[in-house]
Symmetry: D2
Subunit: 306 residues, 4 copies
């Protein structure tokens, strides 16, 4: 990778590492609370195939909600634009687990990245695939180039035991008729889907098709069309960070998605993807240091879409 990019990442990493971490590790999924809060890694993958990382960039972590982009990609690939009859494309303006807007919009989630929307996407995959769990796994294996990737039972079980709010969301949507399968089955898949573990390096590789017009970097295989890619990127920009999406667009200026495991992936179309991991979260549920690092990178490099 060109030394200019390396330098930008090194500077941002060093600067952010020395900052006081004002975040808190998520504890509502018990298993996540065992992670070492000092973990901090970053990895950039450029479309020319070069890549560069620092810190704990090779250590796997639970990507959690970041997986929602991948399940959406698979469902969108299958249903095309008809998918938007089941889930909308607007920012929610409120907390990620809010039920208020589901009431207002009669069971249609505001977007596919709030929990309710991702649960509807899981329902769609169950309806349209023979074995949703296996085929989704195959899909991520292909994108990541990791044939042995699998769900983490420990994480999934931990969330299944405590995820009452997601059970509430799923049954509430079901009461409006916008879940077609049994809530238990849908939730079982949802919790598995969120349990995937990847390192920063693997994550930046996995998402590179979205910076690359819908084609994998490795073998230029078309996953989705250019138009669909553009739309998923737009969705990440407006809805990827819960009720801090505006803030992220404002400070970082890239499409991206965060997870409560402390990971964030972001991308600059036709240019690069970048993944960062630091477990402590700010009050809005996004990695405290991850946000800071990405802000440094785009401010310093002027490599934002705006």
């Amino acid at each position: 990778m060109e030394s200019i990019y390396k330098k930008i990442i090194e500077n941002a990493y060093t600067l952010t590492k020395s900052r006081k971490d004002k975040g808190e590790v998520a504890t509502y999924i018990p298993e996540l609370a065992y992670v070492d809060p000092a973990m901090f890694g970053v990895h950039m993958t450029k479309l020319d195939g070069t890549n560069f990382g620092l810190g704990n960039n090779l250590e796997k972590f639970s990507i959690q909600s970041i997986a929602k982009v991948l399940s959406l990609t698979l469902a969108y690939k299958i249903l095309g634009e008809k998918i938007w009859q089941r889930v909308d494309v607007e920012p929610s303006g409120t907390k990620f687990d809010s039920l208020l807007l589901l009431e207002t919009y009669k069971g249609i989630p505001r977007n596919p990245f709030v929990n309710s929307g991702a649960i509807v996407v899981c329902d769609i995959l169950i309806t349209h695939l023979k074995n949703a769990k296996q085929e989704f796994l195959d899909f991520i294996r292909e994108l990541s180039g990791l044939p042995d990737l699998t769900y983490s039972d420990k994480i999934a079980d931990s969330e299944k035991a405590t995820g009452y709010r997601n059970v509430a969301l799923c049954n509430y949507i079901k009461s409006y008729g916008n879940i077609k399968n049994e809530p238990d089955e849908v939730l079982d898949f949802y919790f598995d889907m969120c349990s995937i573990e990847l390192s920063c390096k693997e994550l930046s590789h996995t998402f590179s098709f979205l910076a690359n017009g819908g084609r994998t970097l490795k073998d230029n295989k078309k996953i989705i069309s250019k138009s669909m890619t553009k739309r998923i990127n737009a969705l990440m920009l407006t809805c990827g960070f819960y009720d801090e999406s505006g803030e992220f667009a404002f400070r970082v200026g890239l499409p991206g998605k965060s997870g409560v495991g402390g990971g964030i992936v972001a991308l600059y179309p036709k240019n690069y993807t970048i993944a960062v991991w630091s477990p402590k979260l700010n009050p809005n549920g996004n990695s405290y240091k991850g946000m800071k690092l990405l802000e440094e990178v785009t401010t310093d490099s002027e490599l934002s879409i705006f």
Copy 2:
């Protein structure tokens, strides 16, 4: 301008002109209801100075909420980042005149482009300028290169006589202490600010500094910093179209701002600005044909930021 751009605009214009217009002219500001609903114009200004327009692109119309971007620019220039203590940067997720979120967030508007946010910006300008009305006018005159530009009394008076919801918003925020001047004075300026009239050509020229890193096209004069420019563009993308902002990002993929007069301005950083005008609005208050035309332009040209 290169013929490729001209062709794209001609195609989009022709295609959209022939479509059935499913929108409705806004009637809640009586004066706006007198506009010929068949008006339809588009104008693109490239950063190389070339420009090209079609239809009623030289006819003036009431830019309404589009002016909020300009008042924000002036207030941001004066206060810097401290401005965000008075108004947030998040999409609202609800109707543009909603009071619900003002209640939740104790008088801090969600962003500067919902009415409540723009009213707070007017309050800021009154506090920090000797004569806010005159100095704001001078500011737009400079940006547009139109030394005779002035407020439209007819439009402003029409809105003052019927703008009860904005009176409600302003007094409600005042009750939380986030309006510092008298509501009557703030609203008087707000209604004047929204009454500015520009043609598509003038509008695309006026906004070109936001595509140009904060500098005017004509004489490369710095209006605001690159970083501020990036942030205003990010705000337009996430919040520029009321509760259809996600949809616009999704379909068009450009930062932009609409007004109930039927105008929309959008821009591709480092590249071009484009203004379109068609008075009939979709149910979300955005120009029906304007949205369609811009979608054609970016889909056809692949010239979106995503």
Copy 3:
């Protein structure tokens, strides 16, 4: 019973019977949809032990939410005033299955008669009784004087198979920590509790302790204190009819409780209880003809608490 009361009931019954029934039978619990919509009965029980009924007053129907008053009585008897730490005493102002206020009040239901509040009451009974289902049944058997009374499996199973919204409510409250047992167990009891079937005559007898200062009519046995009785009556008046509680107080002027099976029970302290049944519901979920009949009775007799 004195002939004046008989006359009032006869008049009200005849008048209401001849009215066009503008209501609709509830269909969201499939089993309820099989009921003959023409059923119409009324029964009054006076504290002197006399009683009088008309129409289908001896036919059993599903009392549904009316049972919430009885489960509250038992839980209140056990916990005393501490119960109000788990559930509030305010009208909800919104639909009976609303999740909005649960979000605002962090899992504390507004009152024990909205579904969420009744579910919390079931949770309390499970915690404090060895066998909540059996002991609640014993309690109603005692109040009603019907030793063979039992849950209706058909009704309960029908609701269990479709009660997704109640599953959502229970899990949502659990996510706030205000359900102590497993949601499945709590809901199982809740659906059974709502499945009780009584006739108008039996219902008016069963509720007579609330008109009688907390003592049974038959043997003057103290069920709860005078003060508790007064408070349960106040709760029925302010919260007994979902978001039509104000309307009922306004038109009828008696404490009461309705159920989606089309039953209503109301009472005049120190005087009488009255039960009415007509399966078709108005848009707020209360028996259309039941409301009308009770309005006639209290307007005609001037026997309201106001």
Copy 4:
């Protein structure tokens, strides 16, 4: 008055006087903040004409929202049941100055005792009376038997200067078309209406017609019908204490109305009215000691409607 009633009041007064006052004087109307917070008075008027008071029961105070019952009475007398097309009869379930439900119900206030509802009632009076201010004053003069009673300019002006939230409410309702006159005129009357000052003794006399089936105590003159009286009493019970109405019904069990001046009036139909005054308010805006005293009176005497 019988000694039993005197004793009950004396006991309740003594007990409550010795309690620590956990309330706070309202400060949002500057003029109210000048009141001596130690003021404490109570006065009961029985339908037999006897009456009895203690403490500062002869000192005048600002009755504020209590006047809403009187303006409603006058408007109801004029319009009859048609009035309910303009304002509903349901408890609001939320803060007294909430705008949320106005949005949900399109400008129809939930009941005539929330500020928005009382403002609509003022609008009705302006429409239907030649000189609403004068005729409303005449009406209270008649009810109270105080021919010199007048508005308090000091209080009204103080509230006019700071009542931004009420300005917001009035303009918001106007935007839905449910205010027919100019907001400024309606608010001017509203603030005057709330500025009336009465002592506990005068207040209990003034409200005695509502305990007396709609007829004045002094000369048995019919003010409104029995049915209307019953309905106003029902409204006071369900909606008289903002979002603490359920609590008041639950603890006190009487129809009543409170004001931010620290006054409360309550009544037992066919029996008595009672007024109490203590300026410090609980967090819900109702007199802290006033609530306590009334709870003592009804618990001790068992003289509640339940």
